[in-house]
Symmetry: C2
Subunit: 216 residues, 2 copies
């Protein structure tokens, strides 16, 4: 299968972690979201890969190839097709809590930091883009911290990585990038260290992708 990805896209990063953790081989297709106004707007990408001009997109083998977008939909697909090792707990309530945490990142933080949102804040509202980012990152991380405390073990939900951890890692990286103080997030930062000790998480880091700028 092929993954259309951008090194610094937090949603692409999530899918890279899931693919790596499950040991699924894939072809990396870089889509530069910045260069020349964004390759995601190129006519061939819009026509053939994603009319919504987003990454990540997972392309399944077959003729014609079938595609899936939206990182959590992709991860649920991978979980169903490649159940081992799992990224959801077996207990029904803990499964729900792992998904709840993932959605706090996916719907509660990431939408506020993506390119079209920041463009509207900057260009239409003439707002302070960095203050906006910090506000929603801090607010979302507080929600994650409070929610995670009820279920955290070594990872956000018990003793094994789940989709919640997959979503956490890129958000903490964004928080550092935009200088959000991490002192209130002891649980999250502790879990992050446990994740980063796993090869699949480490290999999915933006700096290790083929389209990362040299020397980054």
């Amino acid at each position: 299968m092929k993954l259309y990805s951008y090194w610094r896209s937090s949603a692409s990063w999530r899918v890279r972690i899931a693919l790596g953790y499950k040991g699924i081989p894939y072809e990396y297709r870089a889509v530069n979201l910045v260069r020349e106004g964004g390759e995601q707007y190129a006519p061939t990408y819009v026509a053939e890969v994603n009319p919504l001009s987003q990454v990540p997109v997972l392309e399944l083998e077959g003729s014609p190839p079938r595609r899936i977008a939206q990182s959590l939909a992709i991860i649920e697909y991978l979980e169903e097709r490649y159940p081992e090792p799992p990224l959801l707990p077996s207990d029904p309530w803990l499964r729900a809590r792992a998904r709840q945490l993932a959605e706090i990142a996916n719907a509660g933080i990431q939408p506020f930091q993506n390119t079209p949102t920041l463009g509207y804040v900057r260009n239409v509202l003439r707002g302070d883009e960095k203050a906006w980012l910090r506000h929603f990152l801090d607010r979302g991380l507080r929600a994650l911290e409070r929610t995670a405390r009820e279920t955290a073990g070594t990872f956000l939900v018990g003793g094994h990585p789940t989709v919640a951890d997959v979503c956490l890692i890129p958000q903490l990286w964004s928080a550092r990038r935009f200088e959000v103080p991490l002192d209130p997030f002891a649980t999250l930062v502790r879990v992050e260290a446990a994740c980063n000790a796993l090869p699949a998480f480490a290999a999915a880091h933006p700096d290790r992708q083929p389209d990362a700028p040299k020397g980054s």
Copy 2:
């Protein structure tokens, strides 16, 4: 089980549809998000139900009761525990596409219309809240329409309702409320009519909830 809900909350509405469609009885607990600054901020609600001051919350029976927040996490839980009638197709790729459509609404539209976001746009950025709402509703509905065209039958994905339809209905209601023209969304409006002909969808409408204002 108990559902903490607000009549006009689009995320609560999604869960009401899922519960009704699966024929699961539940107790309705109204949380007024507006009155006296919002009951979701009341100390007992924060301490006992949801520290994040949000609806919906599904409370499971037991001692102590266990709770799940985030509408899509709740719906996935219901799908696993009460698989019939299903809200996901059986084909793996179509399951993924149903979730993809649900996430376009959940992460691509709803975060831009919730109360804290609008508060920031209005009070901090001094922006035009209605223009903001219309922009993100129109953009998200365009994404839904383009994506749905690939899989739509009577419903967004084939011939039976899925989680995608569950998320569509409240978004179209919001679009009408904020006067977003629906002409470009022929597929969505056609599917909406099919959904509203089903008793479970009709019964979940805001106007039919116990906490709806009289005469609404």
